[in-house]
Amino acid sequence: MEEPPRKEDVEYWRWQEYRRVFAEKKWRNKDVITAGIDVGSVGSKAVIMIDGEVYSWGIMRTGSNSPDSAKKVLSWAMEGTGLRLDDIKYIVGTGYGRVNVPMANKAITEIACHAKGANYIWGPSVRTVLDVGGQDIKAIRCDETGRVVSFLMNDKCAAGTGRGMEVFADLLKIPIEKIGEVSLNVAEEPPPVSCTCVAFAKTEAISLLRKGWSKEKVLAAYTHAMAIRMSNLVKRVGLEREFVITGGQSKNIGIVSRIEKILGVKCLPMPNWRENGLDPMVAGAIGAALFAKALYEKEHKN
């Protein structure tokens, strides 16, 4: 007898990979075409820029092999553009797998790249950047040129990161893209779960569900706890306006609105990224492509 497909087989955590090309922009050989490749622990991003403007980009899940992920995501961003690897004048690799980007001319940390990218996306008024990645979070202070002034990073722990959100999407059977909205769907904000450690929070969530809490309420309690954790990192690095959030969680309205409430500041508004290419999720790759342009020009100055 064939078993019916079990509900558990649906992968709620699985976020959508996507790509975009501004086909109306035409590239020519004399243009400074650069690329930034950000190989993160969860997602790999590639951005191609023409003379410092976003031309195309793509986001994919990082596989078990960093060089492969880097190659794949770059080819994806180049797909249908007529560009060949040789046309790209300079490539900067960033993210956790930055040293394993075979075609990169140079590696720069994601901390420098996110600050640079945020400065490009939102302009020179940005002073504090919170980057919520797949497995770590970083709070970065920068100057008006996007240079890092100081930073803090949590590591070795998925608490308060995109990975933690994936675990909860799975547990509560809510598609990951919906998780922010759903977490706001409560009449009153519940107290945060007592521990943001993903393993403990999961246990706590199960007992809250058994107690009769709704999915929404449990999710709100977890999101609340994560937002507190992220806000604390920002407070420790010293919050100075303007403040922005980059990385995957920048699109989680449940996280963003709670952080704004806790810190008492509004983030700069989400840009119209589908139209202008200023996608905060790929801020690191944008920064890397900008560094690539600066480095290329520096090398060819003479």
């Binding site: 720069i108 100081s150 930073f151 590591d155 070795k156 600066a294």
Partner: protein, 442 residues
């Protein structure tokens, strides 16, 4: 039935076979790590000083282990110590051999977890683990251990090690700027002197103590010469200098001094030829915090000097390196009393251990850090703390405040006795170095 004094209070439930297997495995890893780190240090500087060859050899514990064994067979005693408060001149004056026994083995710390919780400082856990399986030749060969009761970890470590070795504990006053502290400390030293004399059967005479002081004074002179050379453009990579300093903890002091002087001769020649160890515009980094003990705990200095962009360690404020030797014993009159006073002052008053406090925090350490930043032209400070190292962790804010005032960037780098966090540590260190270079670069 066993007498209570013979009963081991912290024994591991392990069979002899298991102990032997663990020891063989950890020794093999340690050998590998030692060779690997030395190879990496060789690669870091294409013109690495030839005089480093000697320090590479002594860094492999086996050479010194054989010498100590031979010395013991000829009737000499070995006195181990765990903190810099052990006045080694007294050991030397009794014709015994001083050797520091703190453990830098990562794998051994996991054994320590079986006796104390993981919240305990990993250096302490590792030293316990090393003792449980007889890993450290210096710990094994020690006839007695001097334990400075500095931090909580060190204090309780000595209780645990007392299962195995005679422990001579020295209580360290937490306030040092007072007459009663110095008096108290002098009494501690006199007690220790008697203990050393009883163990060795040798009387510490005026003449012998004078020779011992002169021996460490010469070592200090050589050490200071090396440090002064690091004030200019980089003539030596920081890891090499750190290794030189650290081998002082177990090497023969006379030989160490000669080899260090020879190294300095070579470095002076190098400076004349403007043959730098790395580009002169490499960001100059200082590390301070928890001691970094060879061989395993060479992780952070290696990350800094192999980073992209690269950094160079020009100074440190660590009890495993530059704090070992900076201060000479300053004697006015070579009387017994005066020499003992001078030793007492050198070990107590000059110490910048974070176990001290005053009306203005641990001001000696803070002032010393500021002084180093200025004199060694430091661009950025990495404040290194292993989890469980309470004193350094708690002192951070004060240090950061004063460095902020000087516009010297400082980064708090917390880690563990593990090889697994190298990836994230590298990101943090590289971002910090990028920040330092960005002040001049892109």
């Amino acid at each position: 039935m066993k007498k209570p004094s013979e009963e081991k209070k912290y024994m591991l439930e392990m069979s002899t076979k298991e102990v032997e297997e663990l020891m063989a495995a950890i020794r093999a890893t340690s050998k590998k790590m030692t060779a690997e780190y030395i190879e990496r240090m060789r690669k870091a500087d294409k013109n690495r000083p030839k005089a480093m060859q000697y320090f590479d050899e002594i860094a492999d514990f086996e050479k010194r282990e054989k010498e100590l064994l031979a010395a013991k067979q000829s009737g000499k005693k070995v006195v181990g110590y765990m903190c810099l408060f052990a006045p080694i001149e007294l050991i030397l004056a009794a014709d015994a051999i001083p050797v520091r026994v703190n453990s830098g083995w990562y794998d051994a710390s996991k054994l320590g977890d079986r006796v104390v919780p993981v919240e305990v400082c990993p250096m302490v856990r590792s030293t316990i683990g090393a003792k449980m399986i007889g890993l450290s030749p210096y710990l094994e060969l020690s006839d007695a251990l001097i334990s400075g009761l500095t931090c909580d970890g060190m204090t309780k470590l000595s209780e645990i090690l007392s299962d195995y070795k005679p422990i001579w504990a020295m209580a360290v006053p937490r306030l040092k700027d007072s007459a009663q502290s110095l008096d108290f400390w002098r009494e501690e030293m006199k007690t220790l002197m008697k203990q050393i004399e009883a163990l060795t059967g040798n009387k510490i005479t005026r003449g012998k103590l004078k020779s011992a002081i002169e021996l460490t004074q010469r070592a200090t002179k050589a050490f200071r010469r090396l440090q002064d050379l690091r004030k200019g453009n980089p003539v030596i990579m920081g890891r090499d200098a750190m290794l030189v300093n650290q081998t002082y903890m177990w090497d023969d002091i006379k030989r160490w001094t000669e080899k260090t002087e020879a190294l300095c001769d070579e470095l002076e020649e190098r400076a004349r030829q403007r043959n730098w160890a790395c580009p002169p515009d490499t960001p100059r980094v200082m590390v301070t915090g928890t001691p970094m003990i060879w061989p395993d705990n060479w992780k952070v200095p290696s990350i800094i000097e192999e980073a992209n962009p690269q950094g160079v360690l020009v100074a440190d404020e660590l009890c495993s390196s530059e704090r070992l030797l900076y201060d000479p014993v300053g004697v006015d009159e070579w009387t017994m009393d005066d020499m003992l006073n001078a030793i007492g002052e050198r070990y107590l008053m000059a110490s910048t251990c974070p176990c001290f406090t005053s009306d203005d925090g641990n001001k000696d350490r803070i002032n010393w850090i500021l002084n180093k930043v200025k004199e060694w032209k430091v661009n950025g400070v990495i404040y290194y703390v292993v989890r469980g190292c309470m004193l350094y962790a708690m002192e951070y804010m004060r240090v950061k405040k004063v460095l902020d005032h000087m516009s010297i960037p400082v980064y708090y780098l917390d880690t563990e006795y593990t090889r697994e966090d190298v990836g994230p540590l590298k990101t943090r260190v590289e971002a910090f170095l990028e920040m330092l270079t960005a002040r001049v670069d892109i």
